[in-house]
């Protein structure tokens, strides 16, 4: 895509960019969702990140993996949005919950797209697990989702969240411990 943009081959660049969006948008949306916990904001952050990619594609170094470059752009975009949201919330009327957990839930994925593991996992059990994850402190939850769910390394998560790598490891460990306690407690109660 970079070569096409540099050569001024507009149609080819557009086509390559479209393929790039298709390949990365799902993962990007998930990451943005973990970081922002709001579906609409995550959607907008992904859009902004892709537009930035297109705008600054000429500064991309092709010897580095695109994924890392793009993830950094996306994380920075999400952090900017988080800051803006915090500023906004300071001026909003207290007591109004504008951001429910994970924001407005979009339509559930159709049953046909569920893999066998998900089919085995009952709705009740899934709700219980999500409740335990949502009960975690913000940083621990974000680190858990990025490292444990998305498989990002602590170093990458540190760059994405602005935390030290060792701090990320500590948050991850504590998040798993709390999750373990929460799940144990739920199992005992049942």
């Amino acid at each position: 895509m970079k070569a096409a943009v540099l050569a001024g081959q507009r149609d080819q660049a557009r086509e390559a960019f479209s393929d790039l969006v298709t390949a990365h948008q799902r993962h990007a949306t998930r990451l943005a969702l973990y970081l922002l916990r709001d579906a609409t904001e995550a959607d907008e952050a992904v859009q902004d990140a892709f537009v930035k990619v297109f705008t600054h594609i000429t500064s991309y170094r092709e010897d580095l993996p695109f994924e890392a470059w793009f993830t950094r752009i996306l994380a920075n975009t999400c952090r900017d949005r988080q800051k803006a949201r915090r500023r906004r919330e300071r001026w909003e009327v207290a007591g109004v919950d504008r951001h429910p957990e994970f924001g407005p839930r979009v339509e559930a994925a159709p049953a046909t797209t569920l893999n066998p593991e998900e089919l085995l996992l009952g709705d009740e059990r899934r709700r219980e697990l999500m409740k335990a994850i949502d009960a975690l402190p913000d940083r621990q939850r974000t680190v858990l989702l990025l490292c444990h769910v998305e498989g990002q390394s602590p170093r990458d998560v540190g760059e994405m969240t602005g935390l030290n790598e060792s701090t990320v490891r500590v948050h991850l460990f504590r998040a798993l411990r709390k999750l373990r306690i929460a799940l144990e407690g739920g199992r005992v109660r049942r």
Binding site: T29, V51, E117, L129
Partner: protein
């Protein structure tokens, strides 16, 4: 032996889980942990249960996030991204001023109007100069003035004065007495009819007033 005697706590199991997933490096003293897990069925069972619970949590979180990534939503997102990029490719769009006429928006029209205005101004100037010149020529004596052209320079002045001197109606030469009497006559009585009334009111009156004083 330590590894056999004591069961592992949750922290040790979590460390093992993180190490298995490449998220944490086991330390040198964790060798005992690994040995214990192999030798202790109870701890092995606990570790498997922990592993299943964490994996289920991961799958649940992934499914929850995937619910936000429906095909329709992704297609809509991709369309919006491509539209935004396309708009950026097209460059900034200049919005016309709302009150401007259609002709003014095109950019061609003002140039044509400006040309017409300039042409009209030049034509008006030419017509005005020509008409002025023609009118001036129609006046008596204007021809000689017009022919004369620009004002003469200082060096050529004497040569040009000759015809003017000739044109003046010169009286026959009078003697000195005649000239003086003419002057006296001129100063004694105003020849201008309009001034006579004023003269009668002022000078004559003054003479009358002064005379008795002198007497």
């Amino acid at each position: 032996m330590f590894a056999v005697k004591r069961h592992l706590d949750d922290n040790a199991l979590i460390r093992r889980y993180l190490a298995d997933r490449g998220l944490e490096a086991l330390k040198a003293n964790d060798e005992a942990l690994l040995r214990h897990l192999v030798q202790c069925p109870a701890c092995e069972d606990r570790y498997v249960a922990l592993q299943i619970a964490f994996d289920q949590a991961r799958d649940a979180a992934l499914a929850d996030a995937e619910a936000a990534c429906s095909p329709d939503r992704m297609a809509h997102q991709r369309d919006r991204i491509l539209r935004r990029v396309e708009a950026q490719y097209a460059g900034p769009r200049v919005l016309p001023f709302p009150a401007a006429s259609q002709g003014a928006r095109t950019g061609q029209h003002p140039r044509v109007i400006r040309r017409w205005v300039a042409a009209a101004a030049v034509a008006g100037l030419v017509v005005g100069l020509t008409a002025g010149r023609l009118l001036h020529l129609g006046e008596p004596g204007a021809e000689s003035t017009a022919r004369r052209g620009p004002l003469p320079a200082a060096s050529s002045a004497p040569a040009r004065q000759e015809p003017i001197m000739r044109a003046v109606n010169v009286q026959p030469v009078m003697n000195e007495d005649q000239f003086l009497s003419e002057v006296e006559l001129a100063t004694a009585s105003p020849r201008t009819a309009e001034l006579r009334a004023i003269y009668a009111l002022t000078l004559e009156e003054t003479r009358d007033v002064v005379r008795p004083g002198k007497d």
